[in-house]
């Protein structure tokens, strides 16, 4: 369910190259900035492609996964990080190893922002997973002159992921009917309980890989002659232009960071939000959203007959 599905939307039709550069840009920007405004705006920038691509339902699964982790990150942060001046709660007792822990407003806020950073990355990743055909990623790699055998490994792995998942499901079922209780006992016991699932899974995969190799050789794989490619990723001038534009967003971000914009002090007290960082956030946001808005407008203004689907 959480994988690519064929659909005719402006986002699905968009060339994978700019989309992947876009996701990498968001990843890097979210890692170099810790300003709350920038982080939140980066997250908001990932929403329009999800809407235009009609993948909101699947996308929200990934976001919910992230939301599930935020409390964990926050808890860990307030438990181990006692910086900050606004103490919300003090534990009276002296604990071994922890000392006398305090919970501070600053640590709480920092934890939340780190959670949002995770959300940004997950969301951008979700857009790529849901709107780029795995084959397009393969073709993109070929376009970037990655050796065919390496590309083939990527392609074969993604081809057999669904097979592997259904294998896990069946084998788990089999071992449960043999009296295996996966979710019982201590953590060590639970991990040990998985062994009867792992062994057949690995053995099946090994046997499968031999069969796949056989089938590939039987269709002339490994012939010395130069291999041709039936489908190649086509990059139009427009695609190149969009890619360059998105890449320039990354450059803007990196330069701004070097000039000291978009930083934020969480400790010892939360510093005020500066106007510069708001301007920077809005600038990055606009630059990241413009490509999607423009493909959406072009799509809607073109004749419906011209919608040919993925190349």
């Amino acid at each position: 369910m959480m994988v690519y599905k064929e659909a005719d939307t402006p986002i699905h039709r968009m060339n994978p190259m700019p989309k992947i550069i876009w996701a990498i840009t968001i990843l890097i920007l979210s890692l170099i900035f810790d300003n709350p405004v920038v982080l939140i705006l980066l997250f908001v920038a990932t929403i329009p492609p999800a809407i235009f691509g009609k993948i909101i339902k699947e996308w929200s699964f990934f976001v919910k996964l992230g939301l599930f982790f935020i409390p964990v990150i926050v808890l860990l942060n307030i438990a181990f990080n006692h910086n900050g001046e606004h103490i919300l709660y003090t534990l009276g007792h002296n604990l071994p190893f922890f000392g006398s822990p305090v919970i501070t407003l600053e640590a709480l806020f920092y934890g939340i922002m780190m959670g949002i950073r995770l959300l940004v990355i997950l969301s951008a990743f979700a857009i790529i997973t849901l709107s780029v055909h795995p084959d397009d990623i393969v073709m993109l790699m070929l376009k970037m002159k990655v050796p065919y055998k390496s590309v083939l490994i990527v392609s074969l792995s993604s081809r057999f992921i669904p097979t592997l998942l259904s294998d896990v499901e069946t084998i788990t079922d089999v071992q449960r009917t043999r009296g295996l209780e996966l979710d019982r006992g201590s953590i060590i016991k639970r991990i040990k309980n998985r062994v009867p699932v792992l062994v057949p899974l690995l053995a099946n995969s090994l046997e499968r890989s031999v069969e796949i190799a056989e089938a590939m050789e039987a269709r002339a794989f490994g012939e010395n002659k130069k291999r041709t490619f039936y489908k190649e990723l086509k990059l139009s001038h427009a695609d190149k232009l969009v890619s360059v534009f998105i890449f320039s967003t990354l450059l803007v971000g990196i330069i701004a960071r070097f000039l000291g914009y978009g930083t934020y002090e969480y400790y010892p007290v939360l510093s005020p939000i500066e106007l510069e960082s708001i301007i920077l956030g809005v600038l990055l946001f606009s630059m990241l959203v413009i490509p999607y808005v423009s493909v959406w407008i072009t799509y809607n203004s073109s004749e419906p007959l011209a919608h040919g689907g993925r190349q």
């Binding site: 064929e6 055909h133 795995p134 084959d135 392609s155 074969l156 993604s158 081809r159 669904p162 097979t163 294998d167 069946t170 084998i171 079922d173 089999v174 071992q175 449960r176 009917t177 043999r178 009296g179 295996l180 209780e181 062994v195 009867p196 062994v199 057949p200 053995a203 099946n204 046997e207 499968r208 069969e211 796949i212 190799a213 056989e214 089938a215 590939m216 050789e217 039987a218 269709r219 002339a220 794989f221 490994g222 012939e223 010395n224 002659k225 130069k226 291999r227 041709t228 490619f229 039936y230 489908k231």
Partner: protein, 573 residues
Amino acid sequence: MNGEWREGTVLTEGLHFTYSGSQTPALVDVSITIDEGEFVLLAGPSGSGKSTLARCLNGLVPHFHGGRFGGKVVVCGLDTRRATVAELARHVGFVFQDPENQLVSMEVEREIAFGLENIGLPKDVIGKRIEEALDTVGILHLRKKHPKELSGGEKQRVAIASVLALHPNVLVLDEPTSELDPQGAEDVLKVVERINDELGITVILIEHRLDRVMHLVDRVIVMDRGRIIADGEPREVMKDERLRETGTEIPPVVDLTLKVMEHYEPDILRDGFKIPLTVKEGRKILRPLFRRVNGVEWKPQTHHQTGKTVVLIENVWFGYDQPILKGVSLNVRKGEFVALLGRNASGKTTLLKHLIGLNIPNKGKVVVCGLDTRRATVAELARHVGFVFQNPNDHLIADTVFEEVAFPLKSMGYDNIEERVNEVLKLLKLERYRDCYPRSLSGGEKQRVAIASVLAFEPEILILDEPTRGLDFSLKEYIMKILDEYRKNGRTVIYSTHDVETAARHGDRAVIMSEGKIVIDDEKHKGLANALLFSPQINRMIQSFRRYGVPDEILTVEEALEVIDMGLRRGER
């Protein structure tokens, strides 16, 4: 390249092969010549060397599977010892048994392009060949699909298209239908027939179910223990005693005719009649005989179980996005032997999984041995219900057969494990594999180990999901007999199958599912007779004799012979 070659398209001379690490030879002195355009069926029990011979033809043996190779194989003028597998791939298309593991791309079009890209054809030629291959195999509508969206039969047709695009002279298919349901199998075989008929491509097909293909082929080669033991026209080979001795399944109509000739009417084939291979031919030849046995008072032997109800399924609805089961109700009594039939995706496996709590109904309820599956855990249910899954490989985790069978006993906390294991190994004739690594055994042996590991804790209810899939005839019969013995000890056996003939010979009740509903649930003679697709071959033939007063509930060769015997004796008196 495609030069001229003398003699046959496929030629083997004194071919011997032994896999490395094995003591027994897989092929012994195999010499055959197959001419261009021939449609050859390769028959014989499992482990007789059919697959190995097939792999010799495209060079996978000895280039991919190493071993000791003797003799000579020449295919389309190429000596396979000197040619590479890739070179041979242009001449010999190979379709494998497992539909899943031979598709390497994420889209059907790309799958077909794969081989063409490998041999370096230019783009425009590839495009043309893809269209041609899709069209020949009749899968134009699947061109953009991901393999996971395809049924088994569709996957096999994609595999055929992907080798056909290479324009081979010979097509070799290694049990292409053994994992498919009857409809999927028929779709695949129709395509193969067409490729042979209309494109004149030489076809070499391995298939266990002779009744499906006998009428299509020009020639049958029978193998046993690595040797060719019979080779000739289908009708001639059918008469050959040696075929029966290998334990190959003789199509029921052929079997009946041969037995009638042996016991009652030796000259039934006069007037230029030949051994019948299809229902149509069977009717023509056997009609006069059945006319003479009209009005026989024959009732099939039935076992009516009156034991207590052990499985109660009440109006079960189940599904994720879409319902898979739509209001299924079923009641199974102690001591019953139930066959669950139906196409793939009709809900058989889904229903079976309800009986051990792996699936919990969205609506309705399932009570097994007094336990409501909504409340009991799988582990609790597993003490009463044994479940053998389709693929024995998913069962096998241990280093030896002994440990494999002991594993569930240990996790359920049984004592006297040693004794129980030995007993069940004996029952399934697995004693000599006691210390072997289970995964190194043959398919049929692995299936027996999987069944043994479940039988060891003597569940009250035994459930098997397609236990006979891909097995040869004698093994099928053996396993069904063990199951029959097991239920006679007051236990219940429920199994799913595609194989109507097996369901006709064994068990006593047939439940047929279609699109998530039970459409037929009856004693097997009532349930399987007088249907089109779900009647066994003998019954389909006899349906037209009903008007002579021949009992129409006959399902098997034995029952047909019984009726003939009664009818003819009556005349004598």
